[in-house]
């Protein structure tokens, strides 16, 4: 079984972020990048499926500049992925998921994956679309918010998370493209031997510039800090007056009562 896993490098959860002077993106100086959290779960799911199946290949694909992309790819190889593709990107990152998915589709067409797994959404843009669009472009069946997988003969049965604590099992024909929800499994730690072995595994570079189409369908014009010009109403008076005012605000202004 041939499994592709898409992984993205994103700023670490703990990293304080600042907007770049031109407000086009964040200032990446001093920002520590790591593997997007839900992608780690997707990778682990891919590795477990390969293990349960007895054989198969897990290929990781990531798009980004040198350095930080190599870092997340190596980590995935150290955990057990078999080989990888690095879509090398220079300059500002893609922010149009349709375009991004288009690049991946071109890069992966020939691989003919049985399964493509990606994390539900990335910590940076968080559109949650790239995986789904990719599946459609490659003519694969698709499901999102996957919490559990069961591989069948030519199909895969997945448990999808619905709103408000509901779930639903859906069976899809292969090839399938799934977006994986965090918490589906316990991502493993890379072992020493895994890290040593990662050095020998393939990282195939593929420049984005060579495969990208030119149309941008949506773009970010400005990134900024969302400090509202807050007018704080300090509620004064004795305690009963304060509570009355607060309840009134909750009823008429905030509208939660």
């Amino acid at each position: 079984m041939k499994i592709g896993v898409l992984i993205k490098q994103v700023p670490g959860e703990e990293s304080p972020l600042r907007v770049a002077p031109d407000q086009g993106w964040i200032d990446e100086t001093s920002v520590n990048f790591e593997t997007n959290e839900s992608d780690s779960y997707a990778l682990e799911e891919g590795l477990q499926i390969r293990e349960k199946n007895g054989d198969g290949e897990v290929v990781v694909i990531s798009m980004g500049p040198e350095g930080r992309t190599q870092k997340v790819i190596r980590e995935a190889l150290a955990k057990g992925a078999d080989r990888s593709i690095h879509i090398t990107e220079e300059g500002p990152p893609e922010t149009d998921p349709l375009r991004t998915a288009g690049v991946f589709a071109k890069a992966l067409q020939e691989e003919q994956f049985d399964l493509i797994l990606s994390g539900l959404q990335s910590l940076d843009l968080g559109t949650g679309q790239t995986g789904v669009i990719l599946g459609e472009l490659l003519g694969m069946s698709s499901a999102t918010l996957v919490m559990e997988t069961e591989v069948g003969e030519n199909s895969i049965r997945v448990k999808r998370e619905l709103e408000s604590g509901w779930f639903q099992w859906v069976t899809l024909p292969l090839p399938a493209c799934l977006s994986i929800q965090s918490g589906i499994n316990q991502p493993r730690y890379p072992s020493l031997k895994g890290i040593m072995g990662a050095k020998k595994k393939e990282i195939k570079p593929l420049p984005k510039a060579e495969i990208i189409e030119s149309n941008v369908n949506q773009s970010i014009t400005r990134v900024y800090s969302m400090q509202k010009a807050k007018q704080t109403e300090m509620i004064t008076g004795d305690i009963d007056q304060q509570i009355n005012r607060l309840v009134e605000a909750m009823r008429t202004e905030i509208k939660v009562l």
Binding site: G12, E13, E14, S15, P16, R18, P21, D27, T29, S30, V31, N32, E34, K71, Q186, P187, R188, Y189, P190, S191, L192, K193, I195, M196, K199
Partner: protein, 546 residues
């Protein structure tokens, strides 16, 4: 997943800092020259190289030129060669310039460097040379066969805060090596154990440390001159607390501001983080940082004891290099070139040991001979009494340093070797004097600890046993409040230690998640009941270019 992984290697370095990296690169190149082969690996507790590296720093290129004879073609990621240097004496409101910079403190010909960038660059070199670097693997135990060190065990992963195994539990790996080189940096945890077990400080001065607390400031375009160097004395530390500040101009409009505070002060209320904020209240600092924004914060201790505080460096099967051994020139405020040189000399020793297949202390002690006949010793010998003289205050220290220039390093003009005392012993009971009454944090220019720690991007797996072992926390409620006023709340630059609760419920709370791995607590806790051990692999700060 729960079986211990076992790996057999020839040479294992612990800590991917400049000492180990230079050592490994040099070792590999020596082996190639002599047609030998050996498996070399480096363990690093951080999730990636450089994440736990912090220094000022100004690097003397001497060692790098030895390691890379084609230095000029190498593209080492320095910020800038030093272009301008100043030495200032600060009072509360004024700044006095020293008319000239005394030669030993001159940084001419040296390079302002981010240690994080340098170690990442060295790390790449290592990997290109076939050296494995295992990030996210802290060394937690030395493995012995009799009294011979035969390897290192790495930390278990996936243990919860009650000590129970979580579902992704993985036992630490056992790495067997013919020789283990500890390059753990300042106050290494395995180093501490090695020194204790083999009594390696016998006949030496106790080691003394300082802590460096720093902030990186992003400034408006064009307002920072890369290569600018300023060092200061006086305000805010005054004459009785050892230390001073540094201000270096980096690339990308970044000011690198830091304060070094000796961890041998007598007033238990001293708070290194607060001292840095006080420094920023100086009018000169305000004008320098005007219009800028804090982007990064960190802290790290550094060994100040000098030549006489260096332990015996070898035992059967193991060696000490870099800051773990104490190779730091306090007067020049430079240790990186010394750390790398010590790594290189260790490599030369190891080549010999490998060809004889003998890793006994006798063979390895060749390392000390090499150090003694190298420029490393010459340099440290000249400043061998530098820190000790500051026990007499700032002027005493300066006078001594001045005289040392003439006498080749004798203390107080005549003494060959001045003794020193462990820093934590100098904290005085009952001598608690608040220095921060006028300090208030606005969250934009002056920051409280919690806000600064947020800028160190430090993170730890929450569900684990705190990695700061306090052997007797009753002391925190019984003796310490009166004797020292719970100084842990002050000396930790990361707000890890907090006394919470009232009366019956009062206790020490350890916010280990904030820890930036500076080791200050292990060093200066007056009761010496704190043991810093590595947390789960990968945890800690996520510094990029400190």
């Amino acid at each position: 997943m729960s079986e211990r992984e076992v790996l057999e290697l020839d040479v294992l370095f612990v800590g991917a800092g400049p000492a180990s990296l230079a050592g490994a690169i040099h070792l590999q190149s020596l082996l190639k020259e002599s047609g030998q082969e050996a498996s070399i690996a480096i363990l690093e507790k951080a999730g990636e190289i450089g994440a736990h590296s912090l220094s000022g720093a100004i690097v003397d290129p001497r060692t790098l030129k030895e390691l890379f004879p084609d230095f000029d073609q190498q593209n080492i990621p320095f910020e800038s060669e030093v272009t301008e240097e100043h030495l200032y004496y600060l009072t509360r409101a004024k700044k006095f310039s020293f008319p000239f910079v005394p030669p030993p403190m001159s940084h001419h010909g040296c390079y302002i460097t981010s240690l994080g960038k340098l170690t990442r660059w060295l790390g790449e070199k290592c990997e290109n040379e076939g050296i494995d670097i295992f990030c996210g693997f802290p060394g937690t135990e030395l493995l012995y066969e009799g009294d011979q060190v035969i390897g290192v065990r790495t930390g278990d992963r996936g243990i919860d805060k009650n000590g129970e195994q979580k579902s992704q539990y993985e036992a630490g790996a056992e790495i067997h090596a013919k020789v283990v080189i500890l390059g753990e940096g300042t106050r290494g945890s395995l180093t501490k154990k090695l020194i204790q077990r083999h009594d390696l400080m016998n006949g030496k001065n106790p080691q003394v440390w300082a802590v460096g607390v720093k902030e990186l400031w992003k400034m408006p375009t064009g307002s920072v001159q890369p290569g600018y160097v300023a060092h200061t004395m006086g305000f805010p530390l005054g004459h009785t607390i050892f230390g001073g500040a540094f201000l270096y101009g980096m690339q990308d409009d970044i000011w690198d501001l830091g304060l070094v505070v000796g961890l041998d002060y007598s007033n238990p209320a001293v708070d290194p983080h607060h001292e840095l904020q006080l420094l920023k209240t100086h009018p000169w600092m305000k004008s320098v940082l005007d219009g800028g924004e804090l982007i990064s914060y960190g802290a790290k201790s550094l060994p100040e004891g000098g030549w006489f505080s260096i332990p015996k460096l070898t035992v059967n099967g193991a060696m000490l290099i870099g800051d773990s051994a104490g190779f730091m020139n306090g007067q020049r405020l430079k240790g990186i070139h010394l750390a790398m040189k010590s790594g290189m000399l260790a490599a030369e020793t190891i080549v010999g040991a490998l060809s004889e297949n003998n890793f006994s202390d006798e063979t390895l002690s060749d390392f000390e001979k090499k150090i003694n006949s190298s420029w490393l010793r010459d340099e440290l010998w000249k400043v061998r009494n530098f820190h000790q003289a500051f026990d007499h205050g700032l002027f005493g220290g300066l006078i001594n340093a001045g005289m040392g220039l003439v006498t080749g390093g004798r203390g107080w003009g005549l003494k060959n070797r001045m003794s020193s005392e462990s820093g934590h012993l100098r904290m005085e009971k009952g001598k608690i004097e608040n220095r921060y009454n006028e300090l208030s944090f606005d969250g934009k220019y002056l920051f409280d600890k919690v806000t600064d720690v947020y800028h160190s991007a430090t993170a730890h797996e929450e569900d684990q046993i705190p990695h700061l072992h306090v052997r007797d926390s009753d002391v925190c409620i019984t003796k310490c409040p009166e004797e020292f006023g719970n100084p842990c709340e002050n000396f930790c630059p990361a707000d890890v230690y907090e006394m919470v609760g009232e009366g019956e419920t009062r206790k020490l709370q350890i916010n280990f998640s904030n820890c930036v791995h500076c080791k200050t607590c292990d060093i200066i806790d007056p009761y010496q009941i704190i043991d810093w051990v590595p947390p789960e692999g990968g945890d800690g700060p996520a510094w990029v270019n400190l």
